[in-house]
């Protein structure tokens, strides 16, 4: 057990220590506190809503369904995100090769990795489960015992879905030795795993959506013959036990849930012992291709330096699995996930019809631009492509300084690469909105311009943050991206601005003209000023790093 905890401490805590000097050691907790504050209104709303829903549903004997749904949705999120976390922690973190020569049992190494991913899952799960549990606790006027059991359930909840996700990835990655292009294999494995997770998610949602005869259900509930908890939990083991343990303070159910969690982990450990090292050693082997002869096409014609630099950046982003998954993929996947999520509920048609009615009404055109701004600020804030562009240089930052290219031009090339990635995703979103909602050409163009401003703003703030305080001390790419507080800070700024300007837009019920003035013209000028400011500062910010 000591070895497991030591390994966990090394890999997890070292990642968060990074290159924080004494002067900056308070920054991380402050940033985390600030980000938490930005989520506080959302959390409070969920608590209050859960409380009200619990009271209403408890009146018909179905109060526990709220707890069950939050546990089920949390488990599904853990399953989906677990695919990416597992790939990152188990296969892309290069420190594993340091441990192989040490006197450590395979299960100790695997268990420490599991613990690391578990911590990340707690952070994810917190948003889905804790506010609902608290809301139901208040609604049901439960005592301290309710919260104690909830705490135990919360701590054990991610184990089963994370074990499932980890088993899927470990099995897929055990074939890595046969892959010629290891990076592509890692990436495709992550996407396949994500697809499996989403597939399970959506199939469960579509099953729930088939329960649409509300009159019949109400009759069954009135007769005490319909068990919603049973319906939900029949598709995911452990949910019913966890729910009953919490709501009924049932120790037996809690024990059963504990056993389910332990058994799932033991099964994962058994499979991982057989397959993990085969996969991780396979992925770390790099083989050269067969003999290659240079041809005329290999020598590229001379390119403009900014173009050459931008292409170099894009190649590195798309070819490094951890960069691609965290800095590019989500921009393209998030819109598709939302569409499929709606589609799987079976309610897509009616929702679209309602929205189409709204968008044809010219008095809502201003709000359409407000919503567009919010959507793109949200999506682009989640992406740290420019908030990590200097950090990703790591100990190779000196190259920026000795190349015969101004720092300003190199930074602009990094910004350009970030915009290229984001604009493709943005174009997909606008195209989907235009197709599904049948929006006019003029509004579509205005939405695109608003989107450009929103994306450019978050890219510029992220760029300035990373220029000011890049995280350069890392020994694997995961730490440059996933354990980088610059991303968190940029996310906080982006979400705050999104929330503020969206609230203002709705509160003032802005007209189309006003929306154009603010979200296109004013933000356009702001972005221009920011670009000039960063261009002036870039050289001194980089050169002061020694």
């Amino acid at each position: 057990m000591n070895n497991i905890l030591n390994l966990f401490k090394i890999s997890f805590l070292m990642g968060f220590r990074g290159d924080i000097s004494k002067k900056r050691k308070f920054q991380k907790p402050v940033l985390i506190a600030l980000l938490s504050l930005s989520f506080l209104p959302l959390i409070v709303s969920v608590v209050l809503l859960s409380k009200e829903l619990y009271i209403i549903l408890d009146g018909i004997g179905q109060g526990n369904i709220i707890v069950a749904l939050s546990i089920a949705s949390g488990s599904l999120v853990v399953l989906v995100f677990g695919m990416f976390y597992t790939i990152s922690a188990y296969y892309l973190a290069k420190d594993i090769t340091n441990y192989l020569s040490l006197p450590l049992k395979p299960e100790e190494i695997i268990a420490s990795r599991f613990l690391t991913t578990l911590i990340y899952e707690y952070l994810t799960l917190f948003v889905f489960v804790v506010p609902v549990i608290i809301g139901c606790g208040i609604g049901g006027s439960f005592g301290i015992f309710y919260y104690l059991i909830s705490l135990v359930v919360f701590l054990l909840l991610p184990i089963l879905p994370l074990s499932v996700a980890s088993v899927i990835i470990v099995i897929i990655m055990s074939f890595s030795r046969r892959a010629v292009n290891k990076d592509r294999f890692s990436l495709l494995s992550g996407i396949l795993g994500l697809g499996i997770g989403l597939g399970i998610n959506f199939s469960l949602q579509s099953v729930f959506s088939k329960i649409d005869d509300t009159a019949a259900i109400e009759d069954l509930i009135a007769q005490g013959k319909f068990d919603m908890l049973g319906q939900v939990s029949s598709y995911f083991p452990g949910i019913k036990n966890a729910t009953l343990a919490i709501v009924n303070h049932d120790i037996l159910q809690l024990l059963i849930f504990i056993v389910i969690a332990i058994v799932s982990f033991m099964i994962f450990l058994f499979i991982a012992k057989k397959l993990y090292f085969k996969g991780v050693l396979g992925i770390n082997q790099q083989s050269a291709k067969k003999e290659y002869k240079l041809s005329e096409t290999t020598y590229e014609k001379s390119r403009n330096t900014i173009m050459a630099y931008t292409i170099k950046e894009l190649k590195l982003i798309f070819r490094t699995p951890i960069y691609f998954m965290n800095l590019a993929l989500m921009d393209y996947l998030m819109p598709l996930i939302f569409v499929f999520a709606f589609a799987s509920t079976g309610e897509l048609g009616p929702i679209l019809e309602s929205v189409r009615t709204l968008v044809t009404n010219s008095s809502f055109h201003g709000l359409i631009l407000v919503i567009t701004f919010a959507i793109f600020m949200f999506i682009s804030s989640m992406n740290g492509i420019t908030a990590t562009c200097i950090s990703r240089e790591g100990d190779q930052l000196y190259i920026m300084k000795y190349l015969p290219m101004t720092i300003k031009d190199q930074v602009n090339a990094k910004l350009l690469s970030g915009l290229v990635v984001s604009f493709v995703g943005m174009f997909i979103v606008v195209l989907m909105i235009v197709i599904f909602l049948k929006i006019s050409l003029l509004i579509s163009i205005l939405m695109f311009l608003v989107g450009i401003n929103a994306v450019l703003l978050t890219r510029l703030t992220g760029l300035y943050i990373d220029l000011s305080k890049p995280k350069l001390k890392w020994d694997n790419e995961v730490k440059a991206v996933k354990q980088n507080m610059n991303l968190v800070l940029n996310m906080f700024i982006g979400l705050t601005m999104a929330g503020l300007f969206t609230f203002l837009g709705f509160w003032l019920h802005v007209s189309l003209f006003f929306a154009i003035c603010i979200y296109i013209l004013a933000f356009g000028i702001l972005n221009f000023i920011l670009i000039r400011f960063i261009n002036n500062k870039a050289n001194s910010l980089i050169m002061r790093i020694e």
């Binding site: 990076d183 240079l294 001379s302 170099k312 070819r319 190779q396 015969p404 290219m405």
Partner: protein, 241 residues
């Protein structure tokens, strides 16, 4: 020609990594920079290549002051770092094309250089593989190839022979000699005294940020108090500081 005049570099904690050093390195010579770990060799080289700003003094390369015209100076320098792990996910040929673009090397010139250098270093068959798959020695070679693509007037190398097999090491030393013989300047740092003795026209010994000796190997031997090996001479010189 490289002229380092009264250059000082102070790090944030107040320590002088380089303390008022002055050197002149002429065209056509291979100049070796020797010193123990932490002596100030890499700091000096980084100031020479524009990676670190100079706190005091000037560095002038081919009559261009690096503080006034850094880009112009960087265009005529080729720098080989002691860490060859760069752009690992680019293929070798992609890396060379990128460097050629940055240094404005035409398609015809880069083709000639890549083929010639690739043949000399036996790297032609590896150019379509990612640098990630290269051994340490191959990474060193691809960096050297990149540096020589634009035929720099000044070639600066930091511990260049580390990790090279004997054949590649021989080829690199030979290339350094030919580069200097074509009236260009080569400056490199090394720990390996025997290499310095065989390859360098002149050397400088630095310790704790100060230059202890500048001259030829023969002059260094004359300065030594008694007949001793090169290693002993060097250790005496640096230990006495």
């Amino acid at each position: 020609m490289i002229q380092i005049n009264g250059v000082t570099k102070v790090y944030g904690n107040g320590i002088k990594a380089v303390d008022n050093i002055s050197l002149e390195i002429k065209d056509g010579e291979i100049f070796g920079f020797l010193g123990p770990n932490g002596a100030g060799k890499t700091t000096t080289i980084k100031m020479l290549t524009g990676i670190l700003p100079i706190d005091e003094g000037t560095i002038v390369i081919n009559d261009i002051d690096i503080s006034d015209h850094p880009i112009d100076v960087k265009r005529i320098i080729g720098y080989v770092s002691d860490n060859p792990n760069i752009f690992e996910r680019l293929k070798g040929i992609e890396y060379l094309n990128f460097i050629a673009d940055i240094y404005n090397v035409s398609k015809e010139d880069r083709k000639k250089s890549i083929e010639s250098l690739g043949e000399k270093f036996e790297m032609l068959n590896a150019l379509n593989d990612k640098i990630q798959s290269y051994s340490h020695g191959m990474r060193q070679k691809i960096v050297v190839m990149g540096v020589l693509l634009h035929n720099p007037d000044v070639w600066v190398l930091d511990e260049p022979l580390t990790g090279l097999d004997p054949k590649s090491s021989f080829i690199l030393k030979d290339m350094m000699r030919k580069h200097a013989d074509s009236k260009k300047t080569v400056m490199f740092s090394t720990h390996v005294l025997e290499v310095a003795e065989k390859v360098c026209d002149r050397i400088a010994v630095i310790n704790k940020g100060k230059i202890l000796f500048v001259g030829t190997m023969d002059e260094m031997k004359k300065q030594a108090k008694q007949e001793s090996s090169l290693e002993k001479m060097f250790l005496e010189m640096t230990d006495n500081e």
